[in-house]
Amino acid sequence: MKITTARRISQAFFLALFLWFCVVATVGERLWQLRGWPVNWFLELDPLTGLTTLIAGGSLYSGLLWGAATLALTLLLGRFFCGWVCPFGAMHHFIGWLGNHSKDPKERARRNAPHPAQQIKYFLLAFFLGAAASDLAARLLLGQGAAFAAGAIAIALVLAATRKGQGRDFYFIAVGVLLALWAVWSMAAPRGGASLLAGLLDPIPLASRSVNLALLPLADMPLRIAWPEPRFYQGAAMIGAIFLAFLLLNLWRPRFFCRYVCPTGALFGLLARFSLYKVGKREARCGGCMDCEALCEGACRPAGRLRPQECVLCLNCLSECPESAITYRPKPSAAGEVAPDLSRRRVLAGLGVGLAAPPLLGLGGLLGPNWDPRLIRPPGSLPEGEFLRRCLRCGQCMRVCPTGVLQPAGPSFGLEALWTPVLNNTIGTSGCQPRCVACSHICPSAAIRPISLAEKLGQGEYAAQGPIRLGTAFVDRGRCLPWAMDRPCIVCQENCPVSPKAIFTRVAYQTVISGLSAGEAGGGELAVSGRALRPGALATGDYYLVAGEVRARIRANTNAALSLEPGPGWHTPTPGSPVAVQVRLQRPYVDPARCIGCGICQHECPVSGKRAIRVSAENATREPRHSLLLKGAGPH
């Protein structure tokens, strides 16, 4: 078997496994449901997810240790992950092949020639590491030395990878000044300064998000395997379009994303430069057929001086060389190697922009006075600052949520929150189910920490702290039927799942038809005049005839008579005396001490556009400073 055949089998295997994990992330015990499938495994294998959460969050969630194994293997073998494991890479590879295999070999070689734009991914890596690391000094201040060391390693990695040479002194001065500035800033503005932006372009979160939130809902529409009902995700078009664009760009340049964009590939590239095993030429000279260049996925010029950091180990060159001049062995290429084509200035700029990004984004005040009450996070979510340092934007929680209430935050929430999970109580099949904690257990980075049902419900050992609140419901009196329109409705109160209910009602009688006069009584009815009534309109049981101080419930009505059910104290009004029709309303009020912000009321509210009762993140447990209540205050 050719080595490339083995590689194709491996790619197909991991791609199928990845897609399978996306399909089975449905809560349930059938073989095609969640069971114990390690649906986060690819996210865990991706070392950038682990590295950035470690730097930004200051701790490594156990599963993410797989990334360390990937890095270790990369040091041994080179970028094996890109060429053999990465499911997103496999998609690029396949589409690139589709678009290019029929082209003339010269044209293919031209498309596979190294290009300065390949530096962009290093710039992006530096940017994402910078954004993750900008809080490190503050962490050091707080004694979290391990996290600081990790940050220092990240920076050292970038520095080590950049070209040595001219301008050395200037370069070190620049780095020194930058680090000093950063340290001073971090100490002056401790905490809250890091952001895990890497998930925007990190390939596994990107692919997971795109398949989970765009591809799968589309494919599942007719099949209904993943969800019993069609699934909707806000902004899925943008997520899908970005995914599609990256795939289609392979028609122009094979492995476009891997060559120019992928920050994880850049991280691998930095290590692959020093890997033990490398692709290379046995001798400096070869037949010069350039077949290898026409097939090279990494644009690393195998026929000339090779760029090991760009090599994705597709091994096409090795397998197809008619002279068997290409080898894979623990020796550098006989034809020589070219170090990463990195401009220090650009990498530094990337790092600098990255370091500056969180404080810049922070100027929007999202973590401070301008916090966004629409950011209702899933149960178990860390406080917002920590959450943003950990959320990979992989979409796993949104995929697994049985009700579909978890949605990717759109651009209106800001770049720092883009595609992180928020509750949208309108779009799914319900609000957050009180007896579900699925998202907290699937989250690969513990941005939503794993919680038990007892903790969510505030039972057992959690009884003293009470249930987890996601926010609080507010009645919009301008839209609520009994408040604004004198129409009876207690849907929200009926649906509130907490016990005792968080919504209570107060009865109010509102005059809806006045200017009537009583007529003769007979046959259980009272004739009325002064205005024609719509027959049957008052027969719902909510309407009352009021005569002076007393009321009788209206059972039925014609246009000029009411069938009545008199209550105690009733006396039939004398003919000619004024009477009116009142509606009995139960107006909803929310008790903030009981509301858990599950959003079920909002979901069920019959005002189906902008709901008349809406949850916002006020009073959420995870942010004590957004509390509405003073401890112990209130009548209950």
Binding site: M1, R7, E29, Q33, P228, P402, A454, G522, G524, P568
Partner: protein
């Protein structure tokens, strides 16, 4: 012609083989992992502490799987669960409510909730059952006190009253409701007779609207203290005629209650009229043009309300009077 690639070397072939073995190991590892899981970690299939589903705890229903361990409510917490309707249950003699959710096997989104009420006696169970009766057919084999709607099934069996409500009017769930009801009826202790309480059989059958017998537990017709009243509908024109009756401790109590009810009608705007002689102790009242007759008969107090004419009122009253005179007070 393009030069041909050389045949794969031994090293290539061996590496290829090693990769295939590695993939097989990964596949095995994944398969092994998928079988080891704890459903409790998703929050489904596990109990929150404090759950006590009583007779539902061990209830297995073919085709359904429990989605939770269930819970129970006592008179103090009943309103937490059913809020607005709690008063009705409490007045009738509520003791405990057991609830548990089930879902169709393999489809957690298709669920149903069983709410099993333990009432103080079969009368109380019949009271809540009859008071909330909605139009719907009786599922065969579940006894006279059962009916189904498009997404729910209700039944009274001895001191138990069951409400089984599905999340959607889906054929699979309807079958599930039926299976759950049968499983419950089979599992419940048969310590008290399941029959409809005796008074229900006293209404004259002719013209009786099927399924219209209701036991009003408390404050019937808006009169405080008028409790444990059976009513039945006799549709004939509108408003519908209602016959009602209740058994009291003895003739004296029955007489006092008949008098109190007549007084209540009077304070609510009713006008007394001369009563027919044919029924001893009867009192006739007119309110908004409809007639009400109430009388004591042995230990019973009985009445007819809602008819527009004295004749129609008397006609039904005579028939009820006759039925009552046939039973030993």
């Amino acid at each position: 012609m393009a030069p041909r690639a050389a045949a794969p070397s031994r090293a290539q072939r061996l590496t290829g083989l090693a990769v295939l073995i590695a993939l097989a190991l990964v596949a095995l590892g994944v398969l092994y992992t998928q079988g080891r899981y704890d459903p409790a970690s998703w929050g489904w299939g596990s109990a929150a502490p404090g759950g006590d589903a009583g007779p539902l705890a061990a209830l297995a229903v073919p085709g359904l799987e429990p989605r939770e361990a269930g819970a129970s409510f006592d008179p103090a917490t009943l309103s937490d669960k059913i809020d607005g309707k709690a008063e009705l249950y409490l007045a009738a003699g509520f003791q405990r409510l057991y609830t548990r959710r089930y879902a169709l096997k393999g489809n957690p989104a298709a669920w149903l909730e069983l709410m099993l009420y333990r009432m103080k006696d079969p009368r109380a169970a019949f009271s809540v059952f009859s008071n909330q009766r909605r139009p719907g057919p009786t599922p065969p084999g579940l006894g006279p006190n059962a009916y189904a709607t498009s997404n729910a099934l209700y039944l009274a069996d001895g001191p138990w009253y069951l409400e089984a409500v599905a999340s959607a009017p889906d054929a699979g769930l309807i079958k599930g409701l039926d299976a759950a009801a049968r499983a419950i009826v089979a599992a419940l202790p048969k310590d008290q007779a399941a029959a409809v309480p005796g008074e229900a059989a006293l209404f004259p059958p002719q013209g009786l609207k099927p399924g219209s017998v209701v036991l009003l537990a408390k404050d019937a017709f808006g009169m405080a203290g008028l409790n444990q009243i059976f009513i039945a509908s006799y549709p004939q024109g509108a408003p519908e005629r209602i016959a009602w009756l209740a058994r009291r401790a003895g003739p004296e109590a029955a007489e006092q209650e008949a008098a109190a009810y007549a007084r209540f009608l009077e304070t609510n705007g009713g006008r007394m009229a001369p009563a027919p002689r044919a029924i001893r102790g009867a009192r006739l009242t007119e309110l908004l043009g409809v007639w009400e007759l109430v009388w004591p008969q042995g230990s019973y107090v009985a009445g007819v309300r809602g008819a527009e004419s004295q004749e129609a009122t008397l006609e039904l009253a005579m028939r009820l009077h006759k039925r009552l005179s046939e039973v030993k007070p």
